[in-house]
């Protein structure tokens, strides 16, 4: 009788690209990249399996990708299509598992402990899920599945056989399985940690396991994670409770470098309104903010500030961010601007004694209703007319249109 948890990690292969190949049969078997066209300031959000085999990597600049592989076809992303597919596969998972945690746009953890008598049941569930994905999304969209006693090992397992693998790691095989993996395969061990471990003479998971805990003390709290990861231990539960965000931000790479105060003001205001809408949707206000700028020279500048009173109003968020950005205009042309709302707390209704502010605050629920009814872009401040038109984007964790819709995220 099984006494350990049975956790599944399911990860789609080249997700956006495979969805496009499912939709358009003439893209199947070809090297494609989903992202902006070369010559624009864009990256490859996802490369197809065919493109990856020939050296194209996710997050590579589109122009660089086309240099490596001239026959690469770049396809504009369709965030709404991908988000619907995400919703479909999440519904498939929920039919088979008591608890499902969406980890990213194309990954999820399933706790099937209560649904399975033994590990064979889990394998059967995995194969049924694969069949349902094929029927309900398409045969061209495939997923790799890892099944293990915890989330950490399940995720490493699903990565170990791509594309389209099902990898099972039984409880008594965990350490042997990890010994055949690289340290870099462990989620949470990045380049900087790898370098530090190498300096300590640790380049394999087995060596990390042999290192006494006192050796890892220099990593402080992170040392506990390393100690447990080397042993394949992870007690974190699969959780289907959506957490409120800790910060909400928007940044945008402009189609052209500029030092025009009008364009930058308008664009930053537009971004601040998007941040504000998301705050109001979550019932949150921000106590502080940060503004970020990337220059033509590719250097960054970022600074933070605190609001006099917590706010979820776009104009106030903009005023804060602009106070940090405007002094930088003469330094260099700007290619990216961004604003984040931080220190988020639940909103408590407060009546302002300032008439102008009170009028603005009363207007917000009406404007939110308009946006809900007619969609994003249905209202615009006059001062945003000079703003760069923001294209919808999707990345590994977020779809722009979900943040702006009335759907819970």
């Amino acid at each position: 009788m099984n006494t350990s948890r049975i956790i599944m990690h399911i990860d789609f292969n080249s997700y956006f690209a495979s969805v496009e190949q499912q939709a358009n049969p003439f893209l199947r078997g070809k090297a494609i990249g989903v992202g902006g066209k070369p010559g624009t300031r864009s990256i490859v959000a996802t490369a197809s399996i065919e493109a990856k085999r020939q050296g194209v990597k996710t997050a590579m600049a589109s122009s660089e990708a086309v240099k490596i592989l001239p026959e690469l076809q770049m396809i504009d992303g369709d965030a709404r299509k991908y988000s619907e597919m995400t919703e479909r596969f999440m519904n498939i998972y929920k039919r088979h598992a008591g608890v499902v945690e969406q980890f990213s746009i194309d990954e999820a953890f399933l706790d099937v402990t209560n649904e399975c008598e033994d590990w064979m049941d889990a394998i059967a569930i995995a194969l049924r899920i694969r069949e349902e994905i094929k029927n309900e999304i398409g045969s061209y969209t495939t997923a790799s599945i890892g099944i293990a006693p915890n989330k950490l090992v399940a995720k490493i397992a699903s990565e170990s056989d791509k594309p389209h693998g099902v990898t099972v790691v039984y409880p008594d095989e965990v350490e042997a399985f990890l010994d055949n993996r690289e340290l870099s395969d462990v989620p949470g061990i990045g380049f900087a940690i790898l370098r530090r471990l190498e300096e300590m003479g640790i380049s394999k998971i087995s060596q990390l396991r042999e290192a006494p805990f006192s050796t890892l003390a220099s990593f402080k709290q992170y040392g506990h994670f390393l100690y447990n990861a080397a042993r394949g231990k992870d007690n974190s539960p699969v959780s289907d409770v959506a957490e409120k965000p800790k910060s909400v931000g928007h940044s945008y790479t402009l189609p052209f470098d500029t030092d025009s105060p009008e364009v930058l003001r308008a664009t930053l205001l537009h971004l601040a309104d998007k941040v504000a809408w998301r705050l109001r949707k979550h019932g949150l206000v921000a106590r502080s903010y940060s503004a970020v700028v990337r220059f033509e020279s590719m250097s960054f500048s970022s600074s933070m500030g605190r609001f006099d009173a917590p706010t979820n109003e776009g104009f106030k968020i903009f005023n804060g961010a602009w106070s940090k950005v405007s002094p930088l205009l003469h330094r260099d042309k700007i290619r990216l601007v961004g604003v984040s709302a931080r220190d988020l707390v639940p909103v408590h209704e407060q009546v302002s004694t300032d008439k102008k502010e009170s009028k603005r605050t009363k207007l917000l629920p009406a404007l939110d209703k308009i946006q809900h009814r007619y969609g994003s872009g249905s209202w615009l401040r006059a001062s945003e007319l000079m703003a760069v038109k923001l294209k919808e984007r999707s990345n590994g964790f977020f779809f722009d249109h979900i943040g702006e819709s009335n759907k819970a995220y």
Partner: protein, 82 residues
Amino acid sequence: MATEWINEPVEVRVDFCGRHILPRAMRWNNHTYAIHHVNMVHSSFNGTDKLFFFSVSDKTNYFKLQLDTSSLEWRLVEMYAE
């Protein structure tokens, strides 16, 4: 070969099968295209108006068709020719 943005109204003949709408033919620019495969269907909202998108193909062309459920208008959004 590249995907071409069209965004023009078209006429579409469909079959209703159970809860599914299956486009069977499309008329655009005085030419009728027989639809051989419905490769994917997805939906989206424009405010509260629901739009359906049908990714369909014949032997040489891929079409993305849009059905606006509030106006019942069909549009050819984009196409790709081999």
